[in-house]
């Protein structure tokens, strides 16, 4: 059987989260059970509507019982605007699962998960997955930040995981006031090579995490983005430069990279 499937799914549920953000549950998707955190799907927006390529979305959650998958997205340009018009019952073509996904750490060490804005979905799924795999919830720290309170999504769902959760906003309208990297520095004791970092979010956040890892000699994994015409490695369009020289295809060798691997 093929590793990657292309299937017409149905919108089982749609929620408007405000701030131009939406939550979609799509099903059935036959590969649901094999999806790993950090992987993504490639979606054909409803009618085409002038949008030529598919658009990539990280998996936010899965429900293996009913073979459904969930995504969270923010309207950014044409493709996401189209997708935001999807209604319950509409058909949506999904290709996946794509990308490498996160590599799970040793159960002994502490994981520091840092997400900003629309980088949260794959990290929530990572944390949930770890809990399900029997990781100690006390050894999982989740730092989730946004510009302002309204930008934070699905807080109650994240809280339910029972992990150490530190929420921050740039303007202090909710939780810790400051950037995610500051929130980590100020709220987490003993950053060192014994912890591992996981991050996804805006470039500023990723660069800060990069520097933190360098400074504290920590290892970690970051999930990156690039415009993705094909999503499966055949167009050579989604490349980023590697520190060791040459390029990497974010859709295939990524989207998750070891900290330091890619030039940000």
């Amino acid at each position: 059987m093929s590793k990657i499937v292309i299937e017409t799914t149905e919108v089982l549920k749609k929620r408007d989260l405000g701030q131009n953000c939406f939550h979609l549950i799509l099903g059935t998707f036959s590969k649901t059970k094999s999806i790993k955190p950090g992987q993504f799907i490639h979606i054909k927006t409803i009618n085409g509507g002038g949008v030529f390529f598919r658009r990539a979305f990280s998996i936010f959650d899965i429900n293996p019982k009913e073979n459904s998958i969930e995504i969270l997205f923010k309207v950014f340009g044409r493709g996401t605007a189209e997708l935001s018009k999807a209604q319950k019952g509409d058909k949506i073509n999904v290709m996946g699962p794509l990308g490498n996904g996160f590599t799970l750490p040793s159960k002994k060490i502490t994981s520091i998960i840092a997400g900003g804005g629309i980088g949260m979905p794959p990290l929530y799924f990572l944390a949930k997955y770890m809990i399900e795999k029997g990781y100690n919830s006390e050894k999982i720290w989740f730092f989730y930040g946004g510009k302002t309170k309204n930008e934070l999504m699905e807080l109650s769902k994240i809280k339910k995981l029972g992990i150490n959760l530190v929420i921050s906003t740039d303007d202090g309208s909710y939780g810790f006031k400051g950037f995610v990297s500051q929130a980590i520095n100020d709220n987490f004791d003993g950053l060192n090579g014994q912890n591992i970092l996981f991050a996804c979010g805006p470039l500023g956040l990723l660069k800060a995490i990069d520097q933190m890892a360098l400074r504290e000699k920590m290892s970690g994994q970051i999930s990156l983005e690039a415009p993705m015409p094909c999503g499966i490695g055949i167009c050579l369009g989604c490349i980023l430069p590697l520190r060791e020289g040459g390029y990497t295809r974010v859709c295939r060798e990524g989207p998750v990279y070891k900290i330091g691997e890619v030039i940000l």
Binding site: K3, I6, K44, F52, F53, M95, I234, C235, G237, Y247
Partner: protein, 304 residues
């Protein structure tokens, strides 16, 4: 009885006429995760050069209306790694392997093809005379005698069929088509991408670091069809139609205009299993219209 989709080009049989286009299917490895490569008629691999190339810096693709621009810059593993790794992978499948070759001099075309000559599973070579993103490519594409000579030299070292791939960015594509035929090409494939450009109005920057790129996808299909139609009347060797094909109706249009096979390019990015769907739909179309064999419709356009 299911209709016969098999075709022959220069004496070589293809299970069906649906190939994947150079530069849009890598060396087959990724598509093999989506469908069984033995189901398609053939795969045309990414242009290979003498040495490996990393290609242009990003961004090197951009979305346009019903199409895309690309200036990948011939990123490829080079002929040595191609033979050692990629060709070996492709050998496993019951499909034709056409190796697309790009050179910056006639000698480079010859060098690459003479290396490939020793590997019979490189069934044919396709000479990329038309890549708009590197210098010499464009020169061969627009210079009939240079093209003719390059084909001739390549046929000296490569005894299996040689295909010349033509550029649409010329005043009269039949000139170069005839030159390639005279040079000994077994078939012609057309079209490559149209030169195009897009600009980011926030940064005032071109959307590609190469400034210009190649336009492909459904947007260019009418141009490709007109060129296939024109070349069909000008040469006797078989034509392989390329340009914006995304469904069986497009394939039938190209066949009616004179193509004996087609290549699917950009459509693979949007829907990688397009070739499989097309093969299924083509069979239905032929049955419904009582054709036993796809060759029956080649060139059957009823012009006004």
């Amino acid at each position: 009885m299911t209709p016969d989709l098999s075709i022959e080009i220069a004496g070589m049989k293809f299970n069906n006429p649906i190939l994947t286009a150079s530069g849009t299917c890598g060396y087959g490895e990724e598509l093999a995760d989506v469908f069984d490569l033995s189901h398609i008629g053939g795969i045309v691999t990414k242009s290979i050069t003498v040495k490996p190339r990393e290609g242009h810096p990003p961004p090197r693709t951009a979305e346009t209306d019903s199409g895309m621009l690309n200036a990948i810059g011939l990123a490829n593993v080079g002929v040595d790694r191609f033979i050692a790794e990629k060709l070996r992978f492709l050998e496993k499948f019951d499909t034709r392997v056409i190796v697309n070759v790009a050179g910056s001099t006639t000698q480079e075309y010859v060098d690459i093809c003479s290396r490939l000559a020793d590997y019979p599973r490189a069934d044919m070579v396709e000479l990329n005379f038309s890549c708009p993103n590197v210098q010499h490519g464009m020169a061969v594409a627009t210079n009939p005698s240079l093209a003719e000579n390059t084909v001739k030299e390549v046929t000296r070292v490569f005894s299996r069929p040689v295909i010349a791939k033509l550029s649409p960015n010329v005043t009269d594509i039949t000139e170069i088509a005839r030159a390639c035929e005279n040079g000994g090409a077994s078939a012609l494939s057309l079209i490559n991408t149209l030169v195009g450009m897009a600009v980011d109005i926030e940064t005032f920057r071109p959307r590609l670091t190469n400034n210009t790129g190649g336009l492909s996808g459904p947007a260019i299909k009418p141009v490709a069809l007109a060129m296939v139609h024109k070349v069909y009347k000008a040469v006797r060797i078989p034509l392989i139609g390329i340009g914006g094909i995304s469904n069986y109706r497009d394939v039938v249009e190209f066949f009616l205009c004179g193509a004996r096979a087609v290549q699917i390019g950009t459509a693979l990015f949007v829907q990688p299993d397009t070739p499989i769907q097309i093969i299924k739909d083509l069979k239905n179309y032929l049955s419904k219209n009582k054709f036993k064999n796809i060759n029956e419709i080649v060139g059957q356009l009823r012009i006004y």
